[in-house]
Amino acid sequence: MISMIQPTKGNETNIKLPFSFIAFSMIALILSQLLILLNGDLLITGTFRLPAIWSAAHLFVLGWALMVAMGAMYQLVPVAFLTPIWNERFGFWQFALTSIGIASFAATLYINPQDALIPGLLTLAGILMFLFQMFMTLRSQAKPNILTLFVGTALFSLLLTIVLGITLVLSMNTGFASAYYHAVFKTHILLGTAGWFSLLIFGFSYKMVPMFSLAHGYSMKPANYVFTVYFIGIIQLVFSFITKIQLLEIIGTFFLSAGFMVFAWHVKKIIDKRVKKKLDRPFMFALLAIGFGAVIHLAAFAGSLADRLPVIIGPLLISYLIAWIAFSIIGYLYKIVPFLWWTHKYSKEIGKQKVPSLKDMMDEKLALPLFTLFIAGTLFLLLSFSVKLLPVFYLGQGLNVVGAVLFSYIIAKVVIK
């Protein structure tokens, strides 16, 4: 039997909204990489918890990765969940508040961290507006599915991450909950990375991997195991931070690694069922990030097992942020930005005249040099932490800065075309 529905109208978001986020994020990416480059002498000695590094880390994580994720979600949620954005005008206000919040937050962290509370609250308000927008959008989804669980839990983790971040600033200023400062700090990092970004990337990968590879006839059952096992890992680790019981930390990192390995295996199974044999380079880069993510998770488990996690956590977190989260985002963004611009420019022309394909919109020749720059940069950066040589650090981070500038140029070129 054939059941019919009319083509839905108005699911596409006003292009200015996601592009505002993406434009802001590109500036934040370059600035954060420059800040890291300028503080090499501190980083190389393993000193991570300093105002300049806090500023760079938040500029990178909030200013770039979070802003990109929010911009991409304004575009992806309506198409992946078949429901329009609840209120676009509210989205523009949310952008204004969040961008002012993050810019002033990064600046005060750099200049005087004690003054970071008000900018932090502005950022919190902006992110709360985003969470409210997503809640209102997703609640009107006709049929919630496993993707809703991944994305919903990721959004909840983001909320907790921000609340814990504000608690940290309060604790620093007033001594509030100072006995739990370290547990709160570790939970803030864990929920911001594994809880927010990883679960979000898992969720959207389940939409994008089959789409970009044109995979059919695969099972989605393993996604339930991925969610359950990974989620148990996060909870276990939070308990280990509170109780300081080493065994709980080992169990937690084991579950996180196991969940990630099931995810990597499941993605491979989906890819095996693809019809499109030749995959695009940016998409392969996003798949490569899954490989890096698997290695990083296993390294965390091995480090915990050997009771060496506190020693390796700095480089491990940097690898996590760059090789797993940033590489995934860059790979997917390479595909999302041309789509956004194509929709804006050609969705009214298709069927009337010849229009370019999405492949024509982005300079794919630059993909390989870009990804090589980032991979080499990250490898040198990690090497510099173990050999503690400043020139190696400058080489690695210098490549990352060039990569960030090149990536921004590639994105800008799509819009200029």
Partner: protein, 100 residues
Amino acid sequence: MELKEKIRENLKTVYDPELNINVVDLGLIYDIEVPEPRTAKVIMTLTTPGCPLHDSIASGIKYCVLGMEEIDHADIQLTWEPAWTPDRMTEEGKKQLQGF
């Protein structure tokens, strides 16, 4: 050429911008009807529900059909049942996808 066939041939100018294969060879067109003079009804699908190009491809098909001098009204209906499978592609479509 029968009008339905002419419409099908015309739809070969509408391409899925991600795969760069036309909607006919991709097997997205399930049925074409001409229920009354100067009116076309096209029943179509997409490769996956929640395809980001959902609205663009459907409206591209509509513009294409309305662009024909024999047609004044076009009714485009999107269905997910039966779901699209790779078997629905034409030989030409499969060949293009393998080389893409």
